[in-house]
Symmetry: C2
Subunit: 365 residues, 2 copies
C-alpha cells in the first residue's frame, strides 16, 4: 500500500534511519533540513515494493562521501536530482520512481529531496538494509543488478557518468575518486532497475520501518518508558527480529581519521559496573563494523551495531561519538537475505578485511 | 592537401613529435609500436585543416597520465577507440575525423591508432602545438571550444564521461583523478568540434611538421651534417620560426617525482667549457617549463625547451634524462596564436605558478 510522507514525519524518520545507519549514513539533522526545505507543506508518495509493476523503472539516488566531510559541506540540494536527470538522459529512459540505496540520516532523505523536487514517488525499500561504506555493498548487486551506469553530480553542476559493466567494485573505486575531487561529497544515481528487480533484490519496507522505530523511540521517551524496549518491540515484527543489548557504559576513547574518502577509526566503551573491568571496542569505516569484548566478537557486519544515548535512546553516529557519553550499544540481526554466502562475500567481515567469521548477533559471544 | 601516412613514416614522426613534446608527451618507442601493431601495411589519411568542411565533426583522442607511468603501463591499444565511441554515443553523433590534442611521442600516435582501427582520417593539427601537462591547456580552449564532454576509457573497458560545462580546469581535475584511479593512465576523447572550429582554434600542420623535423634530424645524421642546423632549417619555414641553442653540456643532476598524476622535477646541465662555470637548470611538470642560467630565464612556457643528444640530435624526454648524458638544449619559439594574453593565461608562466613573465625565446636572456 502506498502512503504519503509529510514534513511532520521527518524527525521520527531521521531518528530511525540514523539508528539503522549503524553509526554511518550521515547526519540526521542535515538530511532532515534539506528535505524540509523542498517539501514544505507538501507530501511524498511512498510505494510499497509489492505494489510495483514489474516493468516500472526505478533509479535510486544517494549522497556519497565521508560523513566527516558531509557534516562540513551542506549540499546545495539540487545535486541529487541532477544526478537522476543525468542518468535518465544517458539511458534514454525516464524514472517512474526513486529509492534509497541505504538507510541513514542522509541517504534515507536524499531520495525524498528528489521526490519532492520531481514529483516522483519513492519506493519503500533499499539495497543495504542499513548503511555500508561502499557502493558495491548492495543487496541489489548480490542478487544480480549492476550499479553501472552511475551518474554523479557536483555542486557546480559537474556531471560524471561511470560505466564499469558488471564490476561494481571498480565503479565504487572510480566514483569515490570523483567524489573526493568534488570536495569529498558527490550525489549519485545508480543501480537503475525494474520493479521486478526491486522485488527480487531490495530489502523491503525500510523507510516505514525507520519511521516506526524513530516514532517508537520518541513515544517511549515521552511516556517515560524504555526506548530500548520500544526499539526491540518495534523490530520484533520486522525482518530485523533480534535486538540484543551488547554493552552499557561510557565512551572513553575515540580515534578517527578521514582517509581515501572514508572515516575510519574505533571507539572504546568502558563499563560503569564494578564487575566489568574490560572495555568494549567498536571499529568503524563510516559505519560500525565489529564490536569486541575481551577479544571476542559480540556483533559483526552485516549485523547492525548501534550506539544510542543511555537515557533517551537517541542514536549516535560515529561522527557524533564523544568522550564521556553514556551509551547503550545494541546489536540487531539483519534479514536472512543479507546473510547468505554471496551476501557475506559482498559486505560480510571478509569484505572489510576482518579476520573473524560472521556470527549472527543472536547466537554470538 | 590530404596525404597518406604509412608505417615507414612512424620513426621520423615519433622523433619529431618527441622533439615538439618538449620533454613530455610520452615515450616515442611505445607510441610507435602501438601504431605499427594496428596499422600493419595499411595507411592513414591525414587531412590538411584548410581542406575540412566547416560542418565536419572532429573528435580528438589522446592518452593522459604521468609519463613515468606511461612507460610502465603499455595500453591494450583498444582504449582510445573506446573513448571515441563512448563520446560519440553520448553525443549521439559520429566523428568524421580524429585529431591530436598535443604533439608528443605518445599523443601524436594515439589518433593514428584510432584512425587505423576505425578508418577515420586524422586532421593535421593539434591543440597545444607542443605538449602541456594539463587538458585545459589547449588553443582549442583559448579560442572558445570546451573540452566537455570528455570520455575516458580504461584498460578493463571502464567508460567515464565528464561534463563540467565551460570549466575546462575542473574537467582536467576530475579526468586526472579518474586516470589516477585507472592505474595512472587513461585514454580520452574530448574537445569535439566542427571543421570550422578546427580552422579557428587549432595549431595547424603539426603532424606534417613533426614528420619533417624527425626526417631532417635522421637525414642530417646519416649525412654527417649537424642535426641542430637541420632542425633550425626545417622549422624556419613554419610557424615555429626561431630556434636558439640555449646551452651545451652534461646532465649532472636529475630530480623527479610522480605526484598527483604528474611527473615533476628538475634537471641540471653543466657546461664543459672552462669559461662557463654556471649550470643551466630546467624545471619540468611532465614537460620542460623553464630554463634558467644564473637565475635568468633563457626560455619559458609556452616556448619550447628541447633537450637533444649532443651528437645525434635525438630528442630526450624528461623521463629519459640520465646523469652524464651530453646534451644540447634548444629553445624554439611557439606560434603567435600561443602567445596572446589569453593564451598565456591558459599555459604561460602564471598557469604553472612561475614567478617570471613570458619572454619570447628569440629576444630572451
Amino acid at each position: 500500500m502506498s502512503w504519503q510522507l509529510s514534513a511532520g514525519d521527518l524527525p521520527d524518520l531521521a531518528r530511525g534511519a540514523t539508528l539503522l545507519g549503524t553509526g554511518g549514513g550521515g547526519d540526521p539533522h542535515i538530511g532532515r533540513m534539506l528535505v524540509e526545505r523542498v517539501l514544505g507543506g507538501g507530501t511524498v508518495t511512498v510505494l510499497d515494493p509489492d505494489d510495483l509493476d514489474d516493468d516500472m523503472f526505478v533509479i535510486p539516488t544517494a549522497q556519497m562521501g565521508a560523513p566527516t566531510v558531509m557534516i562540513e559541506k551542506v549540499p546545495a540540494g539540487t545535486e541529487p536530482t541532477l544526478a537522476l536527470r543525468t542518468l535518465e538522459e544517458h539511458l534514454g529512459r525516464t524514472a517512474d520512481a526513486t529509492m534509497p540505496i541505504e538507510c541513514g540520516g542522509i541517504n534515507s532523505m536524499i531520495p525524498l529531496i528528489v521526490a519532492a523536487e520531481t514529483g516522483l514517488p519513492v519506493v519503500d525499500a533499499d539495497g543495504m538494509g542499513r548503511a555500508f561504506p561502499e557502493l558495491s555493498m548492495e543487496t541489489f548487486a548480490v542478487y544480480g543488478v549492476h550499479g553501472s551506469p552511475l551518474a554523479l553530480a557536483g555542486e557546480r553542476g559537474e556531471q560524471v557518468i561511470i560505466d564499469t559493466g558488471t564490476d561494481n567494485q571498480q565503479m565504487e573505486w572510480l566514483a569515490r575518486g570523483n567524489a573526493i575531487r568534488l570536495g569529498g561529497v558527490g550525489h549519485i544515481a545508480e543501480y537503475s532497475m525494474t520493479g521486478a528487480d526491486v522485488k527480487r533484490t531490495a530489502v523491503p519496507r525500510t523507510i516505514s520501518m525507520a519511521l516506526a522505530v524513530g516514532r517508537a523511540i520518541r513515544e517511549a521517551r515521552e511516556a517515560n518508558r524504555s526506548p530500548f524496549e520500544a526499539i526491540a518491540a518495534t523490530l520484533s515484527t520486522t525482518l530485523y527480529r533480534h535486538v540484543r543489548e551488547l554493552f552499557v557504559g561510557k565512551i572513553t576513547d575515540v580515534e578517527r581519521r578521514t582517509t581515501e574518502g572514508f572515516a575510519r577509526g574505533r571507539a572504546v566503551v568502558s563499563s560503569s559496573e564494578p564487575d566489568e573491568t574490560d572495555d568494549l571496542e567498536i571499529s568503524f569505516q563510516n559505519e560500525n563494523l565489529v564490536a569486541r569484548l575481551r577479544g571476542n566478537v559480540l556483533a559483526i557486519v552485516p549485523d547492525l551495531i548501534c550506539v544510542v544515548d543511555i537515557e533517551s535512546g537517541e542514536p549516535i553516529t560515529t561522527e557524533g561519538l564523544r568522550y564521556g557519553q553514556r551509551v547503550r550499544v545494541l546489536g540487531i540481526s539483519t534479514p536472512d537475505m543479507m546473510r547468505t554466502a554471496t551476501a557475506l562475500d559482498a559486505f560480510g567481515p571478509v569484505a572489510f578485511g576482518l579476520g573473524e567469521p560472521f556470527v549472527p548477533v543472536e547466537s554470538g559471544g
